[in-house]
């Protein structure tokens, strides 16, 4: 059984033989993940950008980052199931909870770390707060904003796979059900999940490239939740 590589061949055959089933599962997982990212963005972006613009309440961003890293998908789902029936809603809530920390933290750091003199200059030019936000802060923060969104997408797609045990659907349904689909099904679905994760990450990278102002392109921003830039408040957020 150990080191039985031939199962990868069987897995590819399983993918070939079951395009309909797997396609349905891929769509399910994409819908779930997209919904979670969408709600996560709606919740986290205004708070992160707002607090970053005020340059206050950094403890919110720091606490959210700390708790966000510590939350295991399984634990979030477990607690969710205690209070809600198994199904789409509980899984969606769990995924939103996991998507919010990276988006919020990076939005806060990205906006709040913009050079204070730049903002001062914008204000001196007579820009309103809204204009400063739209024309100065958001473009300058966009590398970090997207670093956070990419981390959130990676978290959510991975967690959506695990969420199958709570009725979330998606490719995880096949992975956790070896009894029905066999080892070749489990491995086949795992391969597809990898492809799905790479594709989602790639799509966000392309969007990032399209919306990032030209002079900022190619500037590599490290996710503030994962990498501690020297000089940043509290060394690691």
């Amino acid at each position: 059984m150990i080191a039985d590589i031939s199962v990868f061949g069987d897995a590819l055959r399983f993918i070939q033989d079951n395009p309909g089933l797997l396609w349905d599962k891929v769509v399910e997982q994409l819908e779930l993940s997209a919904a979670a990212i969408g709600v996560g963005l709606l919740v986290a972006l205004p708070i992160g950008i707002g607090l970053g613009h005020l340059r206050r309440y950094s403890f919110v961003a720091i606490s959210v980052a700390n708790v966000g890293r510590a939350l295991p998908t399984l634990a979030v789902i477990a607690v969710g199931i205690v209070f809600l029936p198994v199904g789409f809603t509980v899984v969606l809530i769990a995924l939103v909870v996991l998507a919010v920390p990276p988006i919020l933290t990076n939005a806060y750091v990205g906006v709040s770390e913009i050079d204070a003199e730049t903002i001062e200059a914008a204000r001196g030019m007579g820009m309103t707060e809204r204009q400063i936000l739209q024309r100065v802060e958001l473009p300058l923060a966009s590398p970090l904003l997207f670093a956070g969104i990419r981390t959130a997408v990676v978290f959510v797609v991975a967690s959506a796979t695990i969420a199958a045990i709570a009725g979330g659907g998606g490719l995880g349904d096949v992975i956790v059900n070896q009894a029905s689909y066999g080892i070749e099904g489990v491995i086949g679905a795992s391969i597809l999940v990898c492809g799905l994760a790479f594709a989602c990450d790639g799509v966000v990278a392309i969007i990032q490239r399209l919306v990032t102002p030209k002079p900022l392109r190619g500037r590599h921003a490290e996710d503030a939740m994962l990498v501690a830039e020297p000089g940043r408040e509290g060394a690691a957020l």
Partner: protein, 241 residues
Amino acid sequence: MTGILAASGPVIPDFGEASTCVQDNRLFCPDWVRDNWAPVLQPALLQHVKLVVIAVAIGFVLAFAAALLARRSTWFERPFDLFSALVYTIPSLALFQLLVPVTGLTVTTVEVALVSYTLLILFRNILTGFRSVPADVLEAARGMGMGSFQVLRRVEIPLALPAIMAGVRVATVSTIALATVAAFVIPEGLGRPIFLALRQFFNTELIVTAILAVGLALVADGLLVLAQRALTPWTRIKAGS
């Protein structure tokens, strides 16, 4: 019915002896936690800690070596960074399952996966630490006659330590979270009680295990912050401002 099942093996717990709280599956039953701490929860917690410590230790050695190589040569940095980012993107459940045909339903499978996930975080943080050492400080150290190993040990590592420790913190906390997924492969760690509780939707076990997992991560993070302060006393001078 219960008698037949109980006779066939201890697979299904005998609810006949359980308290009314457990039988009714109320929100939280302290008596269940008390009775099952020693046989169920404590072993799972200790296994979890062991899985994480091994993974972070191996991951640290690999990432540190990689960061040393990448410190001055960009030819190594890009490929290793891409590789670790690629691995980081793979959903954990899929990575565990893809390793099973190669290394079996073993601790090795779990550790290979967990170590892989630490690489990106540790590598980038350690490298950031090394890169933060000012060039004139290195110049001065060399001017004082230090050899390259001495510069590394007495100048670069101490100055990079805050970033290195930050990386260890993030890697440890996220590995504690990820290690719950190990229960899909081996019956170890805090994922195990969550799995068992999911079969019966047993509230107490779901809640207490979730609290243990998150609590373990927060305690580990706190301990590493204390270790960081002890190791880098000079950074606290700036912290006051």
